[in-house]
Amino acid sequence: MKAMRLSVTRAVGGAALALAMTVPALAQAPAAPAAGGSPTLDAIRARGTLICGVNTGLAGFAQPDSQGVWRGFDVDYCRAVALALWNDANRVRYVPTTAQNRFTALQSGEVDMLARNTTWTLSRDTSLGFDFTGINFYDGQGFMVKASTGVRTARELEGATICVQPGTTTEQNLTDWARSNRIRFTPVVIERLEEVVQAYVAGRCDAYTTDVSGLAATRSAQPNPREHSILPDVISKEPLGPLIRHGDQRFADLLRWIHFGLIGAEELGITAANVQQRASDANPEVQRMLGRTGDLGRMLGVDNAWMVNIIRGVGNYGEIFARNLEPIGIQRGPNALWTTPGGLQYAPPFR
């Protein structure tokens, strides 16, 4: 635990470190978690609410609506956990976190879990001391062009001018992709999001590149979204998923199988509308998943009706996707089930 903390401290950066050195007396080794069991789940149960770190506002993933109620794809994952634990989607406290303070919030125990469109990378998994419990959204860098140009794939962008924001991996990915595909292009590098979008809309560049989910949100905000099309090519990997602190396997199991349960439910055709009837389905896997037979819920430390409660509350993966992401123009793409060509979402068997 101590080493993990130190690595976080190191990761925060030199300036902060200098300040940290002025108060070394404050730095103490945190108490080690109790062996066995699940410290996080115990704390959540004792508190009676799940504390979920979410984005401060990202269309489709996490955003408060006009009534101040959090909605979105990531938010539904938080709700699913509360449904599994107590069959009550409202027992979640949402803590808005920024890109900068999200990891500290999780590390310091301010939140129990993050469902905040965070990319799973090796360093975050190891030196930052987190456990990613699955990939609930395969994102990646893509291109948007005006539909009137008739461009259908990214390979047709030979000689095009492409709008891109600097400083992120986006620009690097674009250059790498162009080099490996021998495509010549002229980059138009603009710092601010509104300005780069405006430049694209005004026709200063033929294409605009960023993560596909971002492209979709931008597209849906245009006066006429149909004038713009997002190309099917994805040139980088940004697997997003919920994450928790290292060293809590029980909680990780629960989150992992909630995700698999949502996907499995879609695969088996279990929806919010038909979950009650399907409980008496002849299919043994459906029976096991919905707690009719077997003891799967109890093995995870929750009620055997956990999947029934989750599906009734938030629907299956496909329904969550359709409710939150399809209105902003994000298609299933790689997030389709593995049974569809190109789909990557796959759940291990429920037995």
Partner: protein, 383 residues
């Protein structure tokens, strides 16, 4: 003399220079002023005409955008606002429908919707508290219980959990109450701290002096953003596992410390501007250090620095919006978040104008009040 002039006037002698005539209309009055100040030379005439044209154009353009072409409401189908009408204007008119739809979110953030009367009442209480504190007749010990009672009531309203009010955890607070809480507590706590630090910096005791100098220079040496980051990102890592100080409280402490350092320098300026004679006279009267400071030095020193103090106050009122980087929904962040929803994306101008007007009301009130205060308190200086 008057007879003479009267006579001459009656006699109708027009070239009598001694007659008290009013100055020709071309030398006084509005026309003369305009001629002298706006059309004196061909250059100023050109500038006047150009500016008049631009101002007129912008005013007309603004009125057209904000009122004539504006859309105040859009239909809602199945809980989804239909904003096509707004989008089709392509910026020629304001889409005030976004404010209509989102004003409660902008003002109160994610506070439970059916409980919005509580933060609304809190805002009213804050404004009432400011007005009462500004009135000269309450400038005595009654102000202390007034503040304590009001802030207690505000705390009860925001948190709830007693008197039948449902409990609302801090991360659900948002909007205007957050801005008011951060700036009121920040400045109310920073001001006494600033006075102590300013006095400490002029102290003859080396330890106190060094401590105060260190505090001021360290805090002033880093931007507020990095202090907020410290409070939000670094500080929790030093705490033992399971011990969490609330994010809002951490931000509040950071803002208070920051404001304290700046105000301390302003107060120190006032202390330095005071003539030595005042200190010596107070000492000659045999007053103790605290008597001298409280009765002679501070009243004069603070009076001298009202303009820079208010300047700092206004600055900090607006600086509280920096908490957006640590994920607290103050007024500005709530406004920004309101337009994340795809249906309302692209109507930022309307939201920013609204939020700007709210900030303006508070800052302008502070500025106006300080001008009055300055005039009243410094009357002896203007003879």
């Amino acid at each position: 003399m008057s007879d003479v002039t009267l006579n001459t006037a009656v006699a109708g002698v027009p070239h009598d220079a001694s007659a008290p005539r009013s100055a020709p209309i071309r030398q006084t009055g509005a026309i003369a002023w305009v001629r002298q100040n706006l059309f004196a030379t061909w250059l100023s005439t050109a500038v006047t005409l150009l500016l008049a044209y631009l101002i007129l154009r912008w005013t007309v353009g603004f009125i057209e955008w904000a009122f004539l072409n504006a859309i105040w409401e859009v239909p809602v189908v199945n809980g989804q606002a239909q904003t096509q009408a707004c989008r089709e204007m392509r910026g020629t008119g304001a889409c005030w429908a976004v404010i209509n739809e989102k004003h409660r979110f902008i003002l109160f953030g994610t506070y439970p919707f059916e409980q919005h009367w509580r933060p609304a009442l809190v805002c009213v209480l804050f404004v009432a508290l400011y007005i009462v504190s500004a009135m000269r007749r309450f400038w005595n010990w009654t102000l202390v219980p007034i503040w304590i009672v009001t802030l207690t009531v505000i705390g009860i309203l925001m948190w709830g959990g007693i008197l039948g009010l449902p409990y609302v955890p801090q991360e659900r607070w948002g909007g205007l109450p957050i801005t008011l809480i951060l700036s009121t507590f920040g400045l109310a706590l920073a001001f006494p701290l600033a006075i102590l630090v300013a006095l400490g910096r002029r102290s003859k005791l080396p330890a106190i002096k060094i401590l105060c100098v260190l505090y001021v220079e360290l805090i002033r040496g880093v931007p507020l953003i990095s202090l907020l980051f410290m409070a939000s990102v670094m500080f929790p890592l030093f705490l033992p596992e399971g011990m969490n100080i609330d994010k809002l409280l951490r931000a509040q402490v950071a803002i208070t410390l920051f404001a304290g350092a700046y105000l301390a320098e302003v107060v120190r300026g006032g202390l330095q501007a005071l003539p030595r004679g005042q200190y010596e006279a107070a000492e000659a009267l045999g007053l103790s250090y605290w008597q001298k400071t409280g009765l002679i030095i501070l009243p004069q020193a603070l009076r001298l620095v009202i303009p820079p103090l208010v300047n700092t106050f206004i600055g900090f009122f607006k600086d509280t919006s920096l908490v957006l980087i640590i994920g607290i929904f103050d007024l500005l962040t709530a406004g920004k978040t309101a337009i994340v929803e795809p249906a309302w994306q692209g109507f930022g101008v309307e939201v920013y104008v609204t939020v700007g007007v709210i900030y303006l009301v508070f800052c302008f009130a502070m500025s106006k009040y300080s001008q009055g205060l300055e005039r009243d308190l410094n009357q002896h200086r203007r003879r």
